[in-house]
């Protein structure tokens, strides 16, 4: 059964929007500094948090209103260097404007968690679900996760703080979910007891900052000054890559521990498989389309097709080993992107990375890069069933579909009549 169907009301739930779930997660995580600048479709996250702070529901939390996204990240970096748990949220163009400071946050190794209500990049102006914005921050050193459900937004933010603040990791993280599709629709979300959340994610100890940097008048220090090419610049960059790849284990541990305390599981944390074990044909998909794809898989299974799907939960660090395992299980594997990577081998960010992961592994699984739902274009279950049927046809005939655009199937393209 799909997740949507098996939803059982065991704990107290609230019917809330995805953005409000993100705000509640920040409240549950006891964040100490929030910096805010509104941008559609993220606005209601920081609006809700301002209500919490103003209403005295988050005692001791500082809420900073700044004049731009660039300042948002700059102020959050400052607050984080002081050793606080920080939170902010943004979307699309706001994230692009923040870009310089995003590199500073990762380079300073600060555990900042930022939610992104993803939207398409302008021009043409677009505010609907499309992961191109978080993809744009791919090479910054931030971790990035995709959420498929309202509950997952709440849960992933808690798990993110757990991973980011680990002293072996100390890197920032984006938690992305589709704009409007998740951010502005309401669903029941379990909001956990504060005691239980504190048990999983204890409030920060009253120490002087993180191990690598802290504000202390007794021991002044300086960070961010010039390193000559003969200095250790290259090695510090290498350390970020090394840490990011090693953080995969930390993500798995944090997800397992979350399951133990709260009873909700998200695969191994990096990928979540659905009916993959006996499948001949599979698809890798992420974000909100993944939840709906479970329905399509269920329907096709009832029709007798052996199909399965894998939900990609983390884009950075990329779960190379898990992707290899998934590809081994099936004969034909589709990779569905909702976001563009122009000029890349396939045009889709995840499909390009999947192809790169399988190189030199000797795996002969046929891969079909696919695109759907760009700029918030509606993708319904029937369409997703057709997408899977394309893969099944590919398996039966052994031939690629003939309507590919530079090797990629752009699904749901408008026809001129």
């Amino acid at each position: 059964m799909s997740k949507a169907k098996e939803f059982v009301q065991k704990k107290e739930t609230k019917i809330i929007k995805g953005n409000v779930a993100a705000a509640y997660a920040a409240k549950s995580a006891r964040v100490q500094v929030i910096s805010a600048y509104p941008i559609t479709p993220q606005t209601t996250v920081v609006e809700k948090l301002s209500e919490f702070v103003d209403g005295g529901l988050m005692p001791g939390t500082q809420y900073i209103r700044v004049e731009s996204e660039h300042s948002v990240m700059a102020s959050v970096i400052g607050a984080s260097i002081a050793g606080t748990r920080t939170f902010t949220a943004t979307s699309g163009q706001g994230l692009f404007y923040m870009n310089e400071m995003i590199h500073w946050a990762a380079g300073t190794r600060l555990p900042i968690v930022t939610t992104i209500a993803s939207r398409g990049a302008a021009p043409p102006w677009n505010i609907w679900a499309d992961f191109s914005d978080v993809i744009n921050a791919r090479d910054t050193g931030w971790m990035s996760a995709f959420c498929a459900t309202h509950q997952e937004i709440y849960d992933e933010i808690l798990m993110s703080y757990k991973v980011c603040e680990d002293h072996d990791v100390l890197l920032p993280k984006f938690v992305a979910y589709g704009g409007f599709i998740l951010s502005h629709t309401s669903k029941p979300v379990i909001l956990e007891d504060q005691d239980l959340v504190d048990q999983y994610l204890p409030p920060l100890p009253d120490e002087k900052g993180w191990p690598q940097i802290f504000i202390d008048p007794d021991r002044p220090m300086m960070h961010g000054n010039l390193i000559m090419p003969s200095g250790f610049y290259s090695e510090f960059r290498m350390k970020i890559q090394d840490t990011l790849m090693k953080s995969k284990e930390k993500i798995k541990v944090a997800t397992k521990e979350f399951e133990k305390i709260f009873g909700r599981s998200y695969g191994n944390g990096l990928v979540e498989e659905y009916h993959m074990d006996d499948a001949d044909v599979g698809i890798i998909i992420y974000g909100d389309l993944a939840l709906q794809m479970e329905q399509a898989i269920d329907d096709l299974r009832e029709e007798g097709y052996k199909v399965g799907m894998t939900k990609l939960r983390h884009y950075r660090p990329f779960p190379t080993e898990d992707i290899i395992e998934v590809a081994k299980k099936v004969e034909v594997l589709g990779v569905m992107d909702r976001g563009t990577a122009f000029g890349s081998p396939t045009g889709g960010p995840v499909s390009s990375d999947v192809l790169a992961s399988l190189y030199n592994t000797g795996i002969t699984t046929k891969i079909l890069p696919m695109m759907a739902g760009i700029g918030g274009r509606e993708v319904n279950v029937e369409q997703q069933k057709e997408e899977i049927k394309t893969l099944i046809k590919m398996k039966e005939t052994g031939e690629l579909p003939d309507n590919l655009i530079h090797g990629t199937l752009w699904d749901g393209i408008l026809e001129v009549k």
């Binding site: 100390l170 690598q212 940097i213 960070h223 250790f232």
Partner: protein, 115 residues
């Protein structure tokens, strides 16, 4: 012997050089590069100097130069008078500009050798 020759001697002396943390390989490195305020972290900056500040007689020991020096190389002696550390002084001339009694003079390095 002029002071300019004096600090060159110091620069060559290993014992008097500022200590810099050295790492053998990248695994020993901390997560990020941090500079701690140690004396002369940028090396012997005294050899950047073209003009050398000289405190003349009649200094009223007000301490304005000490306060304005961007490099912190002006030190107060026990008797309250000031001396300038020529190993690190870059010769920017801010002290001479700010001195309210004009008792700091900037002398070209080549001229200072003749004294």
């Amino acid at each position: 012997m002029s002071e300019s020759k004096e600090w060159k001697k110091i620069a060559k002396s290993k014992e008097k050089r500022p200590k810099v943390q050295e790492y053998k390989n990248w695994k020993e490195l901390p997560p990020i590069p941090i500079s701690l305020p140690i004396e002369g972290s940028m090396g012997i900056t005294g050899d950047w100097r073209t003009f050398q500040p000289v405190i003349l007689e009649g200094c009223n020991k007000c301490g304005i130069c000490w306060m304005y020096c961007p490099e912190g190389v002006i030190k107060r002696k026990e008797d309250g008078s000031f001396e300038i550390d020529m190993v690190y002084c870059k010769g920017c001339g801010i002290c001479a500009k700010e001195c309210p009694t004009q008792k700091i003079k900037m002398i070209r390095e080549s001229e200072s050798k003749d004294e």
